[in-house]
């Protein structure tokens, strides 16, 4: 465990020293990862034990033999959601506060985001084993869930990389508002992905309805018109160009 008395030294020198202590951090990260994996395995085992013997098992012609029950995906999905949303909560607190408490929380942000991303990849993989690809991509709700899950996972992968590379500097000056804005978009993506998963299992929430009120009926496939695809491509290229140009100009 991190000891605040050691890690919260105010001077820059101490911080640099802390940064240099990477092997120790890696070990701690490894331990956290192993503990998370063990918990996931234990919970999966429990779910497996409880899912047996209920209802009527029906063999459906055409169902792939490798199909896994949705229960594992649903179980695993709690981990990235909890980890990412906790990371977002800490970002929120840190963005609005320079207190010692907020700074302590800040140190947990990137490990939370990174663990969430790892758990997210596991969850994503488990999700893809539930239905045949041909079937789930015939369902508008299934397509939407895959789309949002892909966005969320890729987005928080980016956030994890940012967190790892820039750590406390994400909250330096006005940069904190960039971090806050990006994290808020990420939190929204998590929320929508989760609610779509709930809708897919037959339990739509108020978020599902709310999305309808602001222009997206989740039972309609989310797709962009062709001209908008082009705009997105141009936009992606433009963002990279701005990044490169800005870095060169300000170097």
């Amino acid at each position: 465990m991190t000891r605040p008395t050691e890690t919260l030294r105010p001077s820059m020198r101490a911080r640099r020293k802390d940064d240099m202590n990477r092997p120790g951090m890696m070990q701690r990260g490894l331990r956290i990862g192993l503990a998370t994996a063990a918990l996931t395995l234990a919970a999966t085992g429990a779910a497996l034990a409880h899912s047996e013997g209920g209802g009527v098992t029906v063999a459906v012609e055409g169902t792939p033999s490798w199909s896994l029950s949705p229960v594992y995906h649903i179980l695993a999905a709690h981990f990235p959601v909890a980890l990412w949303m906790t990371a977002y909560l800490f970002i929120l607190i840190r963005s609005f506060s320079d207190s010692e408490f907020a700074v302590r929380l800040q140190k947990a942000i990137w490990p939370l985001a990174a663990l969430g991303t790892i758990a997210g990849f596991v969850t994503y993989g488990l999700g893809l084993t539930i239905y045949p690809w041909s079937a789930i991509t015939e369902s508008p709700l299934g397509r939407n869930h895959i789309m949002l899950a892909t966005w969320t996972l890729s987005y928080w992968t980016v956030m994890s990389v940012l967190g790892y590379r820039f750590r406390r500097h994400l909250y330096d000056g006005a940069q904190r508002w960039i971090t806050f804005t990006l994290a808020t978009i990420g939190a929204m993506a998590i929320t929508i992905t989760g609610t779509l998963g709930g809708s897919l299992t037959g339990t739509p929430s108020l978020v599902t309805k709310s999305l309808g009120w602001i222009g997206w009926n989740v039972y309609m496939t989310f797709y962009l018109p062709t001209w908008m695809l082009v705009v997105y491509g141009v936009g992606a290229a433009l963002l990279i160009v701005i990044g490169v140009a800005g870095r060169r100009r300000l170097a």
């Binding site: 789930i136 966005w151 960039i178 037959g202 797709y223 936009g235």
Partner: protein, 462 residues
């Protein structure tokens, strides 16, 4: 300065997300008559139903919204010495309003597997008439029950007659009541049919016949001028909706006269293509207490039948205390074929707990209709086939169907209607969705690279 770049980049990113949100779902779904695709303006609507019985007869009363009633189904129009057929079947709404309004009710007593859970979906096989890709055939390829085929997904694989008779004797057929605004309503009748190896009429004569003499290539009947005031209507008046209930607008024994080829016919004269007649046999079991009228934006229709018609191989027999499954279809806005609105199955109890409870009234009396309406949502069903629904490679819920989970447990009517529309453009939407996935991933990666390049560490700034 660096913050300026970052803020500008985030603004572009967020702006593109908002723009994507605003423009999503556009550019693909539109009418495509070449593929028999016409999307109704409204995907869902409402139907109100009540039922009552007196131990001998059973009544059903239906009420549904229709902006403009369609009193004609198809007509014969005189043009330059020829009689041309107009109206009837059309892709989507008939712009001339020459397609009648209808209500249909399917009834089962629990004999047809899965009907009570999936309703009319079980009757939709592959390649039915008007489905995209189905070639036009002389004979209509109607709905059918899966049990009547050796391969339920293949319309052509009808079981041998002896097997069909066995199924029929076991009750594996759906009773089908119909009311038609043009072809049965004017003379106060309904139409009694079935769905088994096909959708057909019961034994006997239906309420209409075709007013056409193929030998002479002219109508058999025209209006009796002494009754109607003229031998024909004006097609312009018919299309404009100027012909109403107070006019003589249908042909029957009371209103028709044998066709007179020597009459001074003029271009635009119109005669109904159907001649209405009394029903007979089992097909005539379903009638109306009186002809229905459209009022204040609603059709209000009542059908009545003997609870036990004495035709158990044609009709589902209603018994006091019994429970039944119903599914309805409403045809409105001058649409027919698959451009109708259907309902999910609804349970009916004769003084039994059910979604709709038929009220018992004194024998020999007429219903007072004092009980509340049962409100049922109707929806556009599109081209979803039973074969697709039960195929786990095409439908993620196929295993739920195998487990007999009712459709209403997992899907709302609105959801089903939206899915139906999207399935009609399935290939195009899926392709666009994949491109959207790729483009949006590119945007996220672009944003990630941008931020990584522009973010600074404090020590970097020194």
């Amino acid at each position: 300065m660096r913050i300026g770049y970052l803020a500008f980049s985030v603004a572009i990113f967020a702006g593109l997300l908002v723009l994507g949100w605003v423009t999503h779902g556009t550019g693909i779904v539109k009418d495509d008559p070449e593929r028999n695709i016409v999307i109704p303006d409204e995907l869902t609507s409402e139907l109100q139903v009540k039922a009552a019985y007196d131990g001998t007869r059973i009544w059903f009363r239906y009420r549904w919204p229709v902006d403009r009633p369609s009193l004609f189904n198809d007509v014969l129009v005189y043009q330059d010495g020829e009689w041309e057929e107009r109206g009837g079947e059309a892709l989507g709404p008939n712009p001339e309003f020459l397609t009648e309004d209808r209500v249909a009710m399917m009834i089962d007593d629990g004999s047809v597997p899965l009907f009570g859970r999936y309703g009319g979906y079980i009757t939709i096989g592959d390649g039915l008439t008007t489905f995209t890709g189905t070639p036009e055939t002389e004979e209509e390829r109607t709905k059918y029950l899966p049990s009547t085929r050796t391969d339920p997904d293949d319309f052509e694989t009808v079981k041998p007659e002896s097997d069909l008779e066995t199924l029929r004797a076991a009750g594996q057929f759906i009773d089908l009541w119909q009311w038609r605004s043009s072809r049965s309503n004017p003379i106060g009748l309904g139409d009694d049919g079935y769905v088994a190896e096909e959708r057909g009429g019961d034994e006997g004569a239906g309420p209409y016949t075709t007013n056409w003499d193929a030998a002479t290539n002219q109508p058999k009947y025209m209006f009796n001028p002494e009754v109607a005031g003229a031998a024909a209507l004006s097609i312009d008046a018919v299309i404009a909706g100027d012909v109403g209930f107070n006019d003589t607008y249908y042909l029957s024994a009371e209103t028709a006269a044998p066709f007179d080829p020597d009459y001074a016919w003029k271009n635009g004269d119109a005669i109904p293509r159907r001649y209405l007649r009394p029903t007979s046999g089992s097909r005539g079991d379903v009638a109306q207490p009186k002809a229905a009228r459209w009022r204040n934006g609603f059709w209000d229709v009542t059908l009545v039948r003997d609870m036990d018609t004495g035709n158990p191989l044609d009709d589902k027999i209603f018994r006091d205390g019994g429970s039944y499954d119903l599914a309805f279809a409403v045809f409105r806005n001058a649409s027919t074929m698959r451009w109708h609105y259907v309902t999910l199955p609804v349970s009916l109890g004769l003084e039994q707990p059910a979604q709709m409870v038929a009220e018992r009234i004194e024998p020999g009396t007429e219903p007072g209709w004092t009980q509340p309406w049962t409100e049922i949502t109707t929806f556009y069903p599109g081209q979803i086939t039973w074969g697709r629904l039960t195929d786990p490679r095409q439908h993620p819920g196929a295993d739920r169907i195998a487990q007999r989970v009712p459709v209403a447990y997992r899907h709302s009517e609105e959801q089903l209607a939206l899915y139906s529309v999207q399935l009609e453009f399935g290939r195009e939407i899926k392709r666009q969705w994949i491109w959207t996935l790729i483009a949006s991933l590119g945007l996220i990666v672009g944003m990630g690279i941008n931020i990584n390049l522009l973010m600074r560490r404090r020590e970097d700034a020194k």
